[in-house]
C-alpha cells in the first residue's frame, strides 16, 4: 500500500472507464488529456506573454 502522500490521486487499480457513442470509443483518461491540450492551446493564444523590462 503506497504512502497516502505519494499515492495516485485516482485509484488506477481497476479497468479504465470508457466513453462510447456510436462508433466513438475512448477512455475517459484520453478524453481528459485531449480536453487539457485544447485548454492549454487556447490559453497559450489568449494569455499575454510577460514582457521583459527595458534595461534588464
Amino acid at each position: 500500500m503506497p504512502h497516502p502522500v505519494i499515492a495516485a490521486l485516482f485509484d488506477l487499480s481497476h479497468p479504465a472507464h470508457y466513453l462510447h457513442w456510436h462508433f466513438f470509443q475512448m477512455s475517459v483518461a484520453n478524453v481528459m488529456v485531449i480536453l487539457l491540450m485544447i485548454a492549454v492551446f487556447l490559453a497559450a493564444i489568449l494569455i499575454p506573454f510577460p514582457k521583459r523590462e527595458r534595461g534588464s
Binding site: V33, L36, F41, I45
Partner: protein
C-alpha cells in the same frame, strides 16, 4: 562572390569535400542565424514556447531511457528507484507528445509552411510520425502484461498490411532494438534537422491583419524569453 572567395579557400582547397561541406554549412547557416541573440517581436507569445518545451521533454526522455536501458527490466519493475525512473520516462513521453501536439496545432493554424518553410513543416510532421513509432515500440518493451496485450492486439493489424514479417511486435528483441537505438536516433536526427531549418528560415510570422499587406520586417526583441 562565391562561397570559396568569401571564405578565402584556394582552388585546390575548393576541390576538397571538407571545404565544400564547410562552405555550404556557413553559407546556409551563418553563426548569427544559427545562434541568434534577438527574435522578432511576435515570438513573445506562449504559443511559440511549445517547440522548445517538446525538445526539453525529449531530453528527459532520452536521459531517463538511457538509465533504464543500463539497469534493465528487473530493475525498473522491482526496485523503487527503478519504478521512479520508469515513471519519469513515461511522464516525460506524455509531456513530449502533449507539447508536440500543441506545437503542431499552433503551427497548423498559423500555416507555418508559408514563406518557403515547407521542408520545416514536413520535417516536423515526419518527426511526429516517427515519434509515434518510438512510443509504440516503447509500450512493447515494458516487459509486462500490458506490453504482451499490446503486442497480441497489434500483430493482427500489422500482419493485415503485410509488414508483420519485417516488423514483428511479438519479437521483444526486435522491438527493443527499434526502441532504444533506431527510432530514438531517427527522432533526434529529425529534430536537429527541424531546428536547423527553423534557424535558417526564421520563425514563421503571424498572418497579416485582414485587409493589410504582409507586415514589414518586425522589430527584434532579445532572444531567451520565447523560442520556436
Amino acid at each position: 562572390m562565391s562561397d570559396g572567395e568569401r571564405t578565402g579557400a584556394s582552388t585546390g582547397e575548393r576541390r576538397m569535400w571538407t571545404t565544400w561541406v564547410r562552405e555550404r554549412a556557413v553559407s546556409s547557416l551563418p553563426p548569427e542565424k544559427l545562434l541568434p541573440d534577438r527574435q522578432p517581436s511576435y515570438v513573445s507569445s506562449w504559443i511559440y514556447v511549445f517547440g522548445v518545451a517538446t525538445i526539453a521533454a525529449l531530453v528527459v526522455v532520452v536521459v531517463s531511457g538511457m538509465i533504464l536501458g543500463l539497469a534493465g527490466p528487473a530493475w525498473w519493475h522491482t526496485s523503487s528507484l527503478g519504478r521512479f525512473f520508469n515513471g519519469i520516462h513515461l511522464w516525460a513521453v506524455e509531456l513530449f507528445f502533449f507539447a508536440m501536439v500543441v506545437h503542431l496545432w499552433g503551427k497548423f493554424f498559423m500555416a507555418a509552411w508559408r514563406g518557403g518553410r515547407g521542408r520545416t513543416w514536413v520535417s516536423g510532421a515526419v518527426t511526429f510520425l516517427v515519434a509515434i513509432g518510438a512510443a509504440f515500440t516503447g509500450y512493447l518493451s515494458q516487459q509486462n502484461f500490458d506490453s504482451q496485450w499490446i503486442a497480441s492486439e497489434g500483430k493482427d493489424g500489422l500482419n493485415s498490411v503485410g509488414i508483420g514479417a519485417f516488423f514483428n511486435v511479438a519479437n521483444f528483441g526486435q522491438m527493443y532494438t527499434f526502441h532504444v537505438i533506431l527510432l530514438p536516433v531517427a527522432v533526434v536526427a529529425l529534430v536537429v534537422w527541424h531546428v536547423l531549418l527553423v534557424r535558417r528560415s526564421g520563425v514563421v510570422p503571424p498572418y497579416p491583419a485582414r485587409g493589410a499587406a504582409a507586415a514589414p520586417a518586425p522589430a527584434a526583441t532579445p532572444a531567451g524569453g520565447a523560442e520556436q
